[in-house]
Symmetry: C2
Subunit: 342 residues, 2 copies
């Protein structure tokens, strides 16, 4: 191996053609699995390719095909917290799974601050990728507008706050929250509080809306005492629960807008001597791994991640292939998972 490794650049189509005794065009046909090649020629080319360990040059190919067969998942989050979010890991796994049967590659781009967003935007617009899936939970960034203006295929992971004409896929957060709240009411609970997500995140807003709708439908008057805003973290959930216990000590159920927060709430409830689900029923959201390990295991709302990632890829590739011109959106149904906490 080291014997011939003084070679500095990789072999080209031409060299393969010479070795195989055919023309460049024929080699290209073989490499691209075109049917119009004789078995002998195909075999000769195959051998030559193997002998030279030829790998097609992506740049040259992309230059003419205008395709890179690569899509980017852009993580436009200010802090590194996103990495520790199991939801994020699931999305990456789902996307990779959805692309496994294709020869499309997925690359991740992080864009923590304005500067990195700028850099990521440039990267994308230079033509490194065919399309972008954007994960940005707080949506005050410029990347979407920039990419739309550049005509770059784009799908957002999560419904955007404003009504920009852009494709997106989201879980039915409101529906899931409604499911959870209805479940609590159906269990005979009378005072159902909620620990909501942050107001600047759509998922938080939607889950709060679902909770309110369910209560309203059941004839309950809206009670601001019962709503405390959390930040989707365990610590935030604990603090919110403490606040709730002060504000409304009579509560007998809590819908918590994320599992980590629910775990924090569970901890505070136990410390306060409230039995779960005996005294207080708790329902979380996300079906995070932690929901299974908590004590008691958390009744929660699960999102169809598999389906969501699949749809994201579909919507994106439709744009890439220009199959469609109008931007599509899709809301995927959520489901209640009953465990022990409610």
């Amino acid at each position: 191996m080291t014997g011939t490794s003084t070679r500095v650049s990789s072999p080209t189509l031409d060299e393969v053609a010479v070795l195989a005794g055919v023309s460049r065009a024929t080699v290209s046909r073989v490499v691209n699995d075109s049917p119009r090649v004789s078995p002998e020629a195909r075999e000769a080319v195959r051998a030559a390719v193997a002998a030279l360990s030829y790998v097609p040059n992506r740049m040259a190919r992309s230059l003419v095909t205008r395709r890179t067969d690569t899509i980017a998942l852009v993580l436009s989050e200010p802090d590194a917290r996103i990495f520790s979010d199991p939801f994020f890991a699931s999305i990456v796994r789902g996307l990779n799974g959805a692309l496994a049967s294709t020869d499309i590659n997925l690359v991740l781009l992080t864009a923590r601050d304005e500067r990195e967003q700028e850099k990521a935007g440039r990267f994308v617009r230079q033509g490194h990728v065919d399309g972008v899936i954007l994960m940005s939970l707080h949506s005050h960034d410029v990347l979407p507008a920039q990419l739309i203006a550049a005509g770059m295929p784009l799908v957002l992971c999560g419904r955007p706050l404003d009504d920009r004409p852009v494709a997106w896929v989201d879980a039915d957060n409101a529906g899931g929250a409604r499911l959870a709240t209805e479940h609590l009411l159906a269990g005979g609970r009378r005072t159902v509080a909620t620990i909501s997500g942050p107001r600047d995140m759509v998922a938080g807003l939607d889950r709060l809306a679902g909770y309110r709708d369910a209560l309203a439908d059941a004839g309950h008057a809206a009670d601001p005492r019962l709503v405390v805003e959390g930040d989707f973290t365990e610590g935030g959930g604990a603090r919110a629960m403490e606040e709730l216990l002060v504000r409304a000590p009579e509560l007998d159920a809590v819908f918590v807008a994320s599992d980590p927060m629910a775990v924090g709430a569970l901890r505070v409830l136990r410390a306060a001597g409230r039995d779960v689900p005996g005294d207080v029923a708790v329902v979380g959201f996300d079906d995070a791994p932690v929901a299974l390990r908590s004590d008691p295991p958390l009744t929660t709302v699960t999102q169809p991640l598999e389906e969501m990632t699949q749809v994201m890829i579909e919507l994106l590739l439709a744009q890439v292939d220009r199959t469609t011109d109008d931007v599509q959106t899709r809301v995927c149904p959520t489901r209640l998972v009953r465990r022990a906490s409610a």
Copy 2:
């Protein structure tokens, strides 16, 4: 904006040249900041570029320069666990920081199973990137060999198990473990146990070696009862601590090879009625965020992540620029952070 957005492909250098009234070459010079351009020409080109919102086509450029100005961080981990590792997030942040002043982009590639590794390998060898930084904690994968054979610039994050001729950067794990152990001994502890990392991870091995060396230097006989293998997780640390308390109830100090494991150990020690650091002193490793929040705050070993990522980039770019032919390695010093647990 929608007015002219029927335009499907982006403008080319030629169109900019026509609009600016100069030749293609001059536009190229301006775009690439060549000094040999008159101010007037430069201004005209600038205006034309802005008017057309011209962005150079990376593929075309790379085809001739043989540079993509992109490097990949490949995460070659079987499970998604790596995302939740704060160490990993720090590495990404560090690398991005080290590249912030350059116009080199960083993309992340995940390669969970054999199949995805294959895909990532192809992606890299097709010439999408100029070099690769590989993070693979378990090192039984084929990617390194494949990339080396292809002559792709490569730097490993972490010392490899075998002695392949490949560049790598690692923290001084053995030195840090020695520091921790010496600290425990200097505090008057007589029976210092350890919860090690997994045997198939170099970091685990090195930290164990450092622990043993420190003990040997202090004249202690090696006692296999005092060594229990953990898996770097909190749960694993707890289990290992339980085991240790059974095996060697007289222990008065534990060097734990990772902070999450140390947190688990702390929990078990408290449950067993042992005061930390009164009865048992505990030192962790990594200086993870959790080390600050634990009770008591964890004395631990910190790695110079900033320096490590900086060096990785240096070694990689040296290879990319062919500044050097021999593979370099670098071990970065670790440091003891004294808190309350020891």
